[in-house]
C-alpha cells in the first residue's frame, strides 16, 4: 500500500489557536484514495523546520501533501523552503504569475513583490489553479513521488485538492479501496473487549479493529468500535469489514449477554 505524509505549516497550529481540520480532511481523502497516511507533522513558519519536514517526508512517503505558507505575507515561506529542501533555486513560474496577476488585475490591484512571491516555485513544478483565493497550489513530481503544496485556508485547500489533486491521484493511484464500519457497544469494559478484538483481527488479517472509549470504563462502559480495511476492490474491502463485524458482534454477544450492541 503506498504511503502518504501530511505536513501542515503554521504557528497558529502550534500555539493551539487553530485546530488542524485540514490534516483530518486530507487524511480522510488520502485514505479513501487508497493511501496509508503514515504521519502528520505540524511545523512552525520557520524555514529550517519546513525544509526538514519535506526532506523527511520525501524520503519516507510516496505522496507528500503540505498545507499553509503559500500566501503573500512575510511568513508565507513554504514554497521557498520546499525549493531549499530540493536544493533548487526558486524561479517565477510564468503560468503561476499569470494566474496571480489576473486575480488582482480584475479588481485593479497592481502586482507587488509580495504577489510575485506567490508564483515562485522550483523549476519543473506545475502550478495548480486556485478557484477560491489567489495563491496557486504547487505540484512537483520526482522519482515516482508526488509532492503537492496547498494553501492553508481550508476552502482554498479543499478546492484545489478536489479539482486537481484527487483526479491525479485517482489516475495514478493504487487500486485500493477503503471501507469502514462503526458499531457501538454498551455495558462491556474496553479491557474485556480487547481479547475479542485481538481474535477478530487474527481471523481477519486484512481488517483493523479499534475500540474508542466514550463512556466510563468501569461505571458505565460505552465503546465505539471502528472496523476498517483496504482491498483491491470495493467488494473485497466491504466483504472484509462485514465479515469482521459479524464475528465481533457474535463473540461479544456470546461472552457478554448483557451487552447492548447497535
Amino acid at each position: 500500500m503506498p504511503t502518504a505524509y501530511i505536513i501542515t505549516v503554521g504557528n497558529e497550529l502550534l500555539i493551539g489557536r487553530v485546530v488542524n481540520t485540514n490534516a483530518a480532511w486530507l487524511a480522510s481523502k488520502l485514505t479513501y484514495l487508497g493511501y496509508s497516511v503514515r504521519r502528520i507533522v505540524v511545523v512552525p513558519d520557520v524555514e529550517e523546520d519546513i525544509v526538514e519536514a519535506f526532506r523527511e517526508a520525501m524520503a519516507k512517503a510516496d505522496v507528500v501533501i503540505s498545507t499553509g505558507g503559500l500566501g503573500p505575507t512575510p511568513d508565507d515561506i513554504t514554497n521557498l523552503a520546499f525549493c531549499k529542501a530540493l536544493g533548487a533555486e526558486p524561479v517565477v513560474n510564468e503560468e503561476a504569475l499569470k494566474m496571480v496577476r489576473e486575480k488582482y488585475a480584475s479588481r485593479g490591484y497592481p502586482m507587488t513583490e509580495e504577489r510575485v512571491k506567490m508564483a515562485m516555485m522550483p523549476p519543473g513544478a506545475v502550478p495548480l489553479p486556485n478557484p477560491v483565493g489567489t495563491a496557486p497550489g504547487i505540484l512537483y513530481e520526482t522519482g515516482g513521488k508526488i509532492v503537492v503544496l496547498l494553501p492553508g485556508v481550508p476552502r482554498e485547500m479543499e478546492a484545489i485538492f478536489e479539482g486537481y489533486v484527487e483526479p491525479l491521484l485517482k489516475s495514478r493511484g493504487p487500486p485500493a479501496h477503503f471501507s469502514e464500519r462503526v458499531v457501538t457497544v454498551r455495558g462491556v469494559p474496553e479491557a474485556d473487549v480487547a481479547p475479542i478484538i485481538r481474535e477478530v483481527m487474527r481471523q481477519n488479517p486484512r481488517v483493523y479493529v479499534k475500540s474508542h472509549p466514550k463512556g466510563l470504563e468501569v461505571d458505565a462502559p460505552l465503546l465505539q468500535i471502528h472496523i476498517y480495511a483496504s482491498a483491491p476492490t470495493p467488494q473485497e474491502a466491504e466483504g472484509a469489514v462485514d465479515a469482521a463485524l459479524k464475528k465481533l458482534v457474535e463473540l461479544i454477544k456470546s461472552k457478554f449477554s448483557n451487552a447492548a450492541i447497535y
Copy 2:
C-alpha cells in the same frame, strides 16, 4: 524559551476519522505556560513509529507530551514503545497497579493481562492518577527533560494535565508569559498588509504578527490579524502586544483610509 513537542498516537487521526483536538488543547496550554511548541507529530499505533517519535522529540525538546495508546486494547502500546525508546525494560509499577486494580475492583471486575498492561512503564517513572478513566498517565524525567504520557480520551487527558502536569510545569517552568490580541481588518488585501506587518515586527522584535485570510483576497478581503508575544512578566507581554497592535492599526489607517478595523 524552552521548547515542547507533542506526539499524538492513533490510527483514527491518520485516517481522518478524528480531528486532533487534543493537540490544539495541549498546544494552547503549553504556550500559555511559556513553552514554544516546535512540533506536533501524529503517528500510527505502530511500535517503530512511536519509538522514533519519542527519540526525536526527546533529542530536540525540553518537554514532550504524548496522548493516546495507554489503554487496555492490543493496539495501546505507547507505554511499551516509550520504554523501548529509552532502551528500558517495562516494569509493572506497583503504585499504578494499585490505581488500576482499585478502579476495577470497585465494580467487581477482576484483574486481567490487559489491565495489568496499563500499569507498565519504565523503571523510575511516576504514575499520574486518572480521575476520569482507568489508565494512569506516566511522568518520566531524565537529564532535565520532562516526558509525560497521557491517555487519548480528551476528558481523561485534560483532567490529568490540569491536575498534575500543569502544576508541575508551573513550578519548574520558565518565567514566561504569553499574551495575544486579534484584530479584524476588512477591505485590504492580505498582500498589501504584508509590508505593514513586516514593519510592525521589525519595530517590535519580541512580537509575532500573522494575518489569516477569512474572506476573498481580491473581491472581499477580510483578515484576522493575530498578534502575540512571550515575555518574562505578564506586563511585558501585554505591553508588547498592545504596542504592536497600536502601530499596526495606525499604519493600516494611514495607508488604507477605506479599511474597517475592529
